[in-house]
Structures are given as C-alpha cells and as structure tokens.
C-alpha cells in the first residue's frame, strides 16, 4: 500500500475514534430524553416542573419535581457556602504563602480528597457526622440537608482548590512585583492584584464545584434522610434529584410511569449540568488570554 493512502486511512480511523465522545453525548441525550419524554403522555410537563408533591406510588401518582429540585439546590448551596471560602483561602495559601517544599507536600494531601470514593464519604457521613449532628443540634434524626452540605462541601474542595490554585499561580509575576514595588504588603497584593487577576479562573472553579456537588449521588443519598418535601432549612431531611433516581429505580418496573418520571429527572439533571459546563467553558475561554 502506498504510504500516503496508508496515512490517510490512519488519520480517518483516528478521527472516527475521536468522535466516540461526541457519539456518547448524543446517545446519552437520545436515550435519556426518549425515556423521559414518555412521562408526558398522560402527565403534563408543566405539572412535572412546577408540581410540589412527589408521590410516585400514590393513586393517581404525583410527579412534582419541585421538592427534589429544592432538595438538590439547598444541599448544593450549603456545600458551596462553606467550600468556596475554605477552598479559595487554601488555594491562596498554596500558591502565594507556602514555600515550594510546603506546597509540594500539601498538594498531594489535598488530592487524596479527590481520590476518595463517594460511597466512602457517604459511609463516613453516616456513621460519624450524622450521629454527631443529631446530638449536637438535638434533632430527631441527623440525616439532614446540613449533613449533605458538609459532606458535599468537603468533596467539592479538591476541585475548587486545584482549579483556583492553577488560576492564582498563573497570574504573571510582573503584576505582583509591580504592586510590591509600590510598597504594598503581601496581603494587599493578594487581595487587590492577584485574586482579582485570577477571578475568572476562581469563578470557573466555583462553577465546576457546583456541578460536582449537584450531580453527586451516593453521599447525599446516604446522609440526607431522603424525605421528598420542600425543605424549610438545613436541619431537615431532604431528597435530592440524584438520590431519587438511585433509590427508586430499583423498585419500579421498566416502562411504567414512575420509570419514565425518573428518566425525566435525569434529563433535567443532564441539561442543568450541561448548562453549568457551558458557563464554565465560556468564562474560561473568554478570559484565557487576557494577560498574554
């Protein structure tokens, strides 16, 4: 075979393999939506999106997404509220305050958090954090949105830390040196120059942290108590969208209304995380070459 023909065949083959990710995303959309949309034969989409009751087994069944959506949002919001300050502060420490040796010791330790499987987080939350919350807040059960928020916050930390750290680290040193040369202290330089210069990267980190938290399943399912009611605070049980799918899929028969309702939740989750990724991508590419 001619060299050039062979090269062309190889290139085409590689292109086809490269398309596998595109094919996967397309198939995910197709199958998710195909199964999800069948709910709307008898059940109105509006009722699904705005209904406040999730009673999948009552007669007639109610598939209102609101309590589950609210559950996901409150757990995620709680997680982000404490993970963002902690994570960004740690990133500042790693890239601006710690010396090289310290940085090289601490980064792998933070990465351990990223490697721990979610079911282990869930287990830890269940056996250590949940009983602790129950006694310290004097609650009927410690399986609450707060427990979910704390565990998810810890799980989102490595994402937030490593991406913020990259962003802060890549701020050109002439900006910092200029500030220091003008007599600013290290801290003034950090909060007036370095952090504002890295803000797009830090925002990306936060957005991806949100994405990570909202899609997490095992941990929230094990620690939040799974009560499908609209939460009135952090100290009550909640059921997230992810946990609902994981818990109820085992009990439904394929093709039933409930089965399709769970796929409809999956579709909502997929669209939601897709949106989050698009926003993160937009911020990342828009501000990437600002200092080039």
């Amino acid at each position: 075979m001619n060299r050039r023909t062979k090269e062309r065949i190889i290139e085409s083959t590689l292109f086809v393999v490269g398309l596998i990710s595109v094919a996967a995303v397309t198939l995910i959309c197709l199958f998710l939506f195909r199964e999800g949309i069948r709910l709307f034969g008898d059940f109105s989409p509006l009722e699904f999106l705005t209904g406040t009751k999730w009673y999948p087994t009552s007669d007639p069944a109610q598939f209102g997404l609101v309590p589950l959506f609210a559950g996901s949002i409150i757990v995620t919001a709680g997680a982000i509220l404490f993970a963002v300050p902690l994570g960004v502060a740690s990133a500042i420490y790693l890239s601006e305050i710690a010396d090289i040796k310290m940085r090289n010791t601490l980064k792998p330790i933070v990465e351990i958090l990223a490697g721990i499987p979610s079911v282990v987080y869930g287990f830890f939350g269940l056996v250590v954090l949940v009983p602790y919350l129950q006694t310290s807040f004097d609650l009927p059960t410690g399986q609450t949105a707060l427990a979910g928020s704390i565990m998810l916050g810890i799980m989102a930390l490595p994402t937030i830390i490593s991406i913020s750290d990259d962003a802060i680290h890549s701020v050109p040193s002439f900006l910092k040196e200029g500030s220091l040369a003008l007599g600013a202290t290290g801290w003034q330089t950090i909060y007036r120059i370095t952090v504002p210069a890295a803000i797009s990267g830090i925002s990306t980190a936060v957005i991806l942290g949100i994405g990570r938290a909202i899609g997490e399943t095992m941990t929230v399912m094990m620690v939040t108590g799974n009560a499908a009611v609209i939460p009135k605070g952090l100290l009550v049980s909640v059921k997230t969208m992810t946990a609902t799918i994981a818990l109820e899929m085992g009990e439904v028969s394929a093709g039933s209304e409930h089965y399709h309702a769970l796929f409809a939740i999956g579709s909502v989750l997929f669209i939601f995380t897709l949106g989050i990724n698009l926003v993160a991508d937009y911020i990342r590419t828009k501000y990437r070459y600002k200092y080039a």
Binding site: K6, E7, E11, L14, F15, V17, G18, I20, S21, A24, V25, L27, I28, L32, R34, E35, L86, A89, S90, I92, Y93, I97, V110, E111, I112, L113, G115, I116, P117, S118, V119, V120, Y121, G122, F123, F124, L126, V127, I154, L157, T185, W187, I190, G211, G215, E216, T217, M218, T242, I245, A246, M249, G250, L262, G266, L269, F270, T273, I276, N277
Partner: protein
C-alpha cells in the same frame, strides 16, 4: 477602607492567620476521614476477610466476591476505555487541525466529564441493559464505566502528548518518517509514562464509582464470582453501600463496614500512590 486605618502589617498578619486556619481545616478533614476509617477498620481486616465470601446474611465472613467483581469491572472497562481514550487524544493533539471538529470533540469531552454519574447509570440502563438486551450484567456495567472514565483518560493522555517537545516530532518528520511513524515511534514512547500515570489514576475512579453500576448490574449478594460477562456481580463500593444502609443488623456489623471501607480506600489510595511514584520517577529521568 479598613486597611488604611489598621496598620497594613497587622492586617496582613490577621489575613494570613485566617488563611492558614482554612488550609489546616482542609487538611484536618483529610486526616479525620482517613483516621476514622483506618482505626475502626483495621481490627477487622485479615487474610480471611479478604479471601472468604460473606456469610450469615452478610453479618459475618469476608468480601472476596466483591473484590473479584471490582477487579473484573476495572479490567473490562479499562480494556475498552484505554485504547479509545489514547487514540482520541492522539487524534486531537497530533492530527486534528480543523478548529470546528476539535471544538466539537472538546465540547463533548467536557460535557461527559461534567455529567453526573447517576445519569451515566440511567443511560447504561436504557441503552445497554434494556435496549441492547445485555440485562443487568458485568458487560453493561463495564460499558457504562468505560464512558465515565473516557474523558479522564483522554485529558490525561492529551496532557502527556502536549508535553512531548515539538523538536522530537520535527526531527522525525525531517528524517522522512510519516506522521503515523512519528507518532508510533517517537511521540508515544516519549509520552508513555504520563499516559500510564493517567490510566492508573482513572483506575481509581472506576474502582470507587457506585451510582453507574447501581443501575446496570451490581448485585446485593452473590456467593460466587461471575462466570461470564452476562452475569451480575458484587462490587466493593456497592457492597459498602448495601452493608451500611440496608444490611441486616446494621449497627452490629459496623466493623465489617469499616473494614470494607478501609479496603476500598486502600485500593484507591494505593493506586494513586503508584501513579505518583511512576510520575516522579520518570519526570527525573526525562528532562528535555
């Protein structure tokens, strides 16, 4: 502004103290988590625990079938994901030039990376279990997990390929080698250690994923190991989930649960450690 009133030196000291406390808090989370699981699990860990199946409705015995199931899952899904991921990365980094194609593929990869694992589970259920007719099985779960790790492997391999200096490729091309010969003989060997590191790190991901296999074939209890890819299987993360939330005598079997968590943790962290060692060893060797 507050900092104009307070002495800048003092405000710096205060700020740095707060920042240090935040860092310590993060490290404390790691420490407490690992400490609890090691301290409570280590007492129940034994050769027998690792090599015998669960007994007495999972209140005694070991976790052997779950370990075997997890190893099978890892092998099958990595066998599929690794070649596909590395070849995708080669296409993106060595061949693709047209921007729109690259943009499309990159969008898809980012999207896959951000998709919640339970959504992969739903997809695996709809496509592999039901539509393709594999039923809940090792095959359906491995295919699903393959998609979960694919973006991880592609990104790690791309990273590896990017760090191969262009001079090596140019040298090879200047000697008359074709692009594929260059990739095969020059680029891949140079990028190999980093590609292996990435692959090993993604094994950790496969070992710990629970939500995707929950819907595609992981079983509550099967005393023996699967004979074919169409069998259901036990897996460590799912086993831990079942033991700690739905087992018999949840309170009495805490020891077994901690030990299972410890084994899972050791496998995942051990895999990560191997990857880090390989990376640092080759980084010293290959100074461009």
């Amino acid at each position: 502004m507050a900092t104009h009133r307070i002495d800048p030196g003092i405000s710096q000291m205060l700020a740095f103290t707060v920042i240090r406390i935040c860092m310590l808090a993060v490290l404390a989370f790691v420490g407490i988590l690992v400490y609890y699981i090691v301290i409570n699990g280590i007492g129940h860990l034994s050769i027998e625990f690792l090599t015998s199946p669960p007994r007495q409705r999972m209140t005694a015995g070991g976790i052997f079938p779950a370990i075997v199931g997890t190893v099978m899952l890892i092998s099958l899904s990595m066998a599929m994901a690794l070649p596909l991921g590395v070849l995708s990365a080669i296409y993106l980094n060595e061949y693709a030039s047209e921007n729109r194609r690259v943009w499309l593929i990159n969008m898809a990869i980012n999207n896959l990376a951000g998709t919640p694992s339970i959504v992969f589970g739903l997809f695996g259920l709809a496509l592999f279990v039901k539509y393709a007719g594999f039923g809940p099985s090792l095959l359906a779960a491995s295919l699903t997990l393959m998609l979960v790790v694919l973006p991880v492997i592609i990104r790690a391999s791309e990273e590896a390929l990017i760090s191969v200096p262009p001079g090596l490729r140019e040298g090879s091309l200047a000697l008359g080698a074709t692009r594929w010969q260059t990739v095969q003989k020059v680029v891949i060997p140079a990028a190999m250690p980093s590609i292996i590191t990435g692959a090993i790190l993604s094994i950790g991901r496969v070992a710990g994923e629970t939500a995707p296999i929950l819907l595609t074939g992981a079983a509550y209890f099967i005393p023996r190991t699967p004979d074919s890819v169409f069998d259901q299987f036990m897996a460590l993360p799912y086993h831990l989930f079942v033991l700690s939330t739905a087992g018999t005598d949840i309170e009495q079997t805490r020891g077994i649960q901690y030990a299972t968590a410890l084994v899972l943790l050791l496998i995942v962290l051990g895999i990560n450690l191997i990857a880090v060692v390989i990376r640092s060893r080759y980084r010293k060797k290959l100074m461009w």
